[in-house]
Symmetry: C2
Subunit: 412 residues, 2 copies
């Protein structure tokens, strides 16, 4: 049944033409992205911005590092932005890539000599179009630059003030362009299709680890350039765990099977959770599933109402719409995490939807997860997670995750 | 031919008993590891050590995070060590794991309230066995703690001095225990067997990307809990690239095919490179291969002589043994990287063997790569990389990489 429903939605892996189109869209969008940063720099008296977070590198310069590659890439991909130019650092291993991916940037070849080169790199920056002035205050991504690096840069150019910056680019990244949504949607399609393809393999006796590996394989051979994160596959009472790698635990009949997973396409991520039933579901598990499903519906309804009205509800009010349903059923304490999170170049990014997030209207246009859950310690757990595009200004609310949300029984 | 040679060496995936034995060995070794750190702390007047690097966490406390997991784990896995105790931080997602993996540590449940909790965490530490004294100076892993975090901790407890520390634990980690060598060797066996299994799939028309994915699959379904790093597979003139992800470039006859890859077993990594010939090799490629092979032999001979004599040669002298062979053939400028690197919980760790590394006697017992290469830009590239255990004090030099080093022709 599930397979039939999904058959028409089979993911088409992104073609080289898609990748080229997205690359061109990024190049067109980059001046506006840089413009927002420069306006903020200007407002705060910052002459240049030194960034190291790999998602920010890709967003502002086009230079792409794989997840974790920044650990071995050294300074490669770190960047300086002044009012008038973009400089990308790259050691000899990365200069070809930097020239290819950042045609509008100046590439500086830097290696272990970074802190010695720092004064010259800074003084060589053009701080304004007119070429006047000097770079005296540099904003630095303080949540991502190591303390030791900061100290070395500070002492290498003592007349340059380093100003700690946190969250500027992350704030810009939460509102997205059409070509960014396209890639998140493509990553969702890849994940949807992978779970559909996995269904016949789910049967009592197979292990969490085997299913997780096969689901990964489905994604990576059908359109995903990488995973968004390691596949979570949790059977039975393990579905109540807030975190856990797949184990050699075997799937058994009459229990739940929770998959939390995502793909990466063109740099952008997806994230979805489905809780399936292996064999005949128990009454208890069905009741929990029904409750979580209603909670998700309540949050989506809240978003739909806001979208129709052209309003921006607060992150906490959307969380509350789902949480109230769960609390009313007496399970408030069994929903221990927030309702959702933004997604894009990073799997978890702004905005954050939860009780504990600082209360603020949702930005737009944006994309985030809606993922209520109920976890009964030692017994069972259910989470349902979809991504939605939210844009009340154009009255748009679009679900990107298409795998059915109805009770799905497998391996029976 | 190759397959026949390797047949007897087929990797046995580590059994649950192996994993349990390694875990027990780590637990037995941990007091000595902590003792080295505490002796250094004592010598430098440091009352406590605050660590965040995930390899150091695993080495000193037993708490294991997957590669990159530290990005989403928050403070979980960060740790404090005083003269008298080990404290591991974990949020609610990780407390079960921390209790299981760190039976001798005190687990502190910490989440977003880390900097507010810092003064209490510090004042609650027992600085010495007698319980006297106060923690006034804390060594902090300054190469891994973000500047913003440092500042928040410094202002949360202004009477506690934060002392930047770099490389202490990394220095301890370069000399290894028998059970650490066992895991590196097991990871080498997994990688050897995976390349052997891949050989029949190599033929003109298959892409780098397809081969890299299949090689990854062989490792991850036959004993590797993870990759040591993303598989590099570079065909023909692309083998001259110092860095490059697998592409849709097809393998062609009469060219080289370079694989650089490694597995992870029980937390420890392997790293190997083989340059194969697809179809009839060209004279030029064979000559380069022969040269690189001789250069590797020269380095191994230098190490063998030192091992027999019970001597510790310098890192640079071993690099020079290989480099001189390549330079004498007129290819000095085509060998642009160092000869090798240590390996263990991290793929690249101390010691470093190269022209540019600070000259120092090699430590022991240790394990490192021996990987000379010659790269002819736009034409071809050859690298041969094996791991060796080096322990002159027991006259032991052992190659852990067993895939043949002879010219190997595939897809003919």
């Amino acid at each position: 049944m599930t397979a039939a429903v999904l058959g028409e939605r089979r993911a088409v892996p992104p073609t080289p033409a898609d990748l080229e189109r997205w690359r061109a869209a990024d190049a067109l969008a980059r001046p506006a992205r840089l413009g927002r940063l420069r306006a903020r720099m200007d407002a705060e008296g910052i002459d240049a911005y030194f960034g190291v977070r790999r998602e920010n590198t890709r967003y502002l310069t086009g230079f792409a590092l794989a997840e974790g590659e920044e650990k071995v890439a050294g300074v490669s991909g770190q960047f300086l932005i002044s009012a008038d130019e973009v400089v990308v650092l790259a050691d000899s291993r990365y200069t070809l890539q930097a020239r290819d991916e950042c045609p509008d940037a100046r590439i500086e070849r830097v290696y272990n000599d970074f802190s010695e080169r720092w004064p010259q790199l800074v003084s060589g920056l053009r701080p304004s179009a007119s070429g006047n002035g000097q770079v005296r205050r540099i904003g630095v991504e303080a949540g991502f630059v190591a303390f030791a690096t900061w100290k070395r840069l500070a002492s290498a150019a003592p007349d340059v003030e380093l100003v700690p910056i946190e969250g500027w680019v992350e704030e810009f990244r939460q509102t997205k362009e059409p070509a960014e949504f396209e890639r998140v949607a493509a990553a969702c399609s890849v994940a949807d299709a992978a779970l559909e393809a996995l269904l016949p393999a789910i049967r009592p006796g197979v292990t969490e680890h085997e299913l997780a590996l096969q689901l990964e394989w489905e994604m990576r051979t059908n359109g995903a350039e990488a995973l968004a994160f390691d596949v979570a596959c949790l059977a039975g009472e393990r579905a109540a765990l807030p975190h856990g790698s797949p184990t050699s635990r075997e799937v058994r009949a009459a229990e739940v099977l929770l998959f939390d997973f995502g793909a990466q396409v063109g740099g952008y991520r997806s994230d979805m959770t489905r809780t399936l039933f292996v064999g005949e579901p128990s009454r208890r598990d069905l009741d929990v599933y029904q409750l979580v499903s209603e909670a998700q519906d309540a949050a989506i309804s809240r978003l739909a109402a806001a979208t129709q009205a052209g309003e921006h509800p607060t992150n906490r009010s959307v969380d509350a719409a789902a949480r109230d349903v769960i609390a009313a059923a007496g399970h408030g304490e069994h929903f221990g995490h927030g309702l959702g999170h933004g997604i894009g170049l990073a799997t978890h990014e702004a905005p954050s939807l939860g009780r504990l997030a600082p209360e603020a209207p949702l930005p737009s246009p944006t994309v985030f997860s809606v993922e209520p859950g109920v976890y009964l310690d030692g017994m069972t757990g259910v989470r349902i997670e979809d991504l939605v595009i939210f844009d009340p200004d154009t009255h748009r609310l679009e679900r990107l995750t298409h795998f059915p949300r109805e009770v799905t029984v497998v391996g029976a």
